[in-house]
Symmetry: C2
Subunit: 216 residues, 2 copies
């Protein structure tokens, strides 16, 4: 019985996700669903990436948070449209909440919407928001075993950011283990080793995301 | 309708959780439900804590993982009873799965069962496993905003381990912000600043958990 209910919820989500995707396609807007553990660096990634891209592209952000607007506060100096969705305890965003907030944006004047999902490696991977693609963010300090322990996200994402590279020398993160496991889960996925706080390796990422926007 | 179903599921979980708790009480076994983000250091905490306590107390472990036994492999050298629960994609353990694995242990010869929940700051906080208490683990590298962004766990836990203290100088973690937010969420909770990899601050934790076991 529980499985049936879950399927119904997922089906309803799927239909709404397809509506969102159709609308964004019609408006020629890319939507990136950013997923990571709490504290892997999603907001810092957005701070830096928006700073780098905002003269070239028209950007908006949807911030998914359980109960605060802390992340949105960190981004507001960029002067771009930001909408916060508080999930009130919920562990992920869904396509219905995305659908409800899209009218807040002028979609005719946007290139890309970054969606910062709730910090959680598990649940957000199961819910299609209607995004163009998912972006996985994982940080060195979480350890090298994340691809094998949380494989769904790494299978579903179009690209991976391996963040906090500046801290690798202070940890026991083993790149060989990480890449070996990742290869078993999703061997062909583009991956960028970066430190957003130290601006290391970020140019390849900016080039890649720019090319995704340009070819939309 | 969804809320009603959720309530039924939670009620069923609550009843089973109380059964688990009654059994453990009858057998005089403490059960600690350990909750954190992925990669905050739950398994390292267990490696070190079991090493410190195993001559004094009879310890067992339940490892909750989505699809592997990696964490259990890391603990097996201690020679204590370990049972793995694979959630097959599920984002948290529940009291039914705990109830099913308890017969694997000789409860008459145990002092404490550590339960390593699925790495997730959100969902595990909502599900009572029948534990004696929840233990929150949060790491410096996740940032100082976790208590305010994920308040439920910090309200529900009996104690907090603030781990990876050795990395604080390489991050922008602001202790004042962390403690100010935590104070607003749960001002009275015992907290231990530790680095399990560097064995910093761990003695206070070992003393505290020992006193919890001794006074059960």
């Amino acid at each position: 019985m529980e499985i049936k209910i879950m399927k119904n919820v997922l089906d309803r989500n799927k239909n709404k996700a397809n509506e969102v995707r159709d609308l964004l396609k019609q408006k020629n807007v890319l939507m990136v669903n950013i997923i990571s553990s709490p504290g892997a660096g999603k907001t810092t990634l957005l701070e830096k990436t928006i700073g780098n891209l905002k003269d070239k592209f028209k950007i908006a952000v949807i911030e998914g948070d359980i109960s605060t607007d802390r992340d949105a506060q960190r981004l507001k100096n960029h002067g771009i449209p930001i909408v916060v969705i508080n999930t009130e305890g919920g562990c992920h965003l869904d396509s219905h909440s995305i659908s409800k907030v899209l009218p807040e944006f002028d979609l005719d004047n946007l290139d890309i919407i970054f969606v910062e999902n709730v910090g959680n490696l598990v649940c957000p991977s199961h819910f299609d928001l209607g995004e163009t693609f998912k972006l996985a963010v994982v940080s060195i300090t979480e350890g090298d075993d994340k691809p094998i322990k949380y494989p769904m996200l790494f299978r579903e994402a179009r690209a991976i950011l391996l963040n906090k590279l500046d801290l690798i020398e202070y940890t026991n993160f083993n790149k060989k283990v990480f890449y070996n496991d990742l290869n078993n889960v999703n061997g062909k996925i583009p991956l960028f080793e970066v430190s957003f706080t130290k601006n290391e390796g970020v140019d390849q990422w900016y080039n890649w995301i720019s090319s995704q926007i340009s070819s939309k």
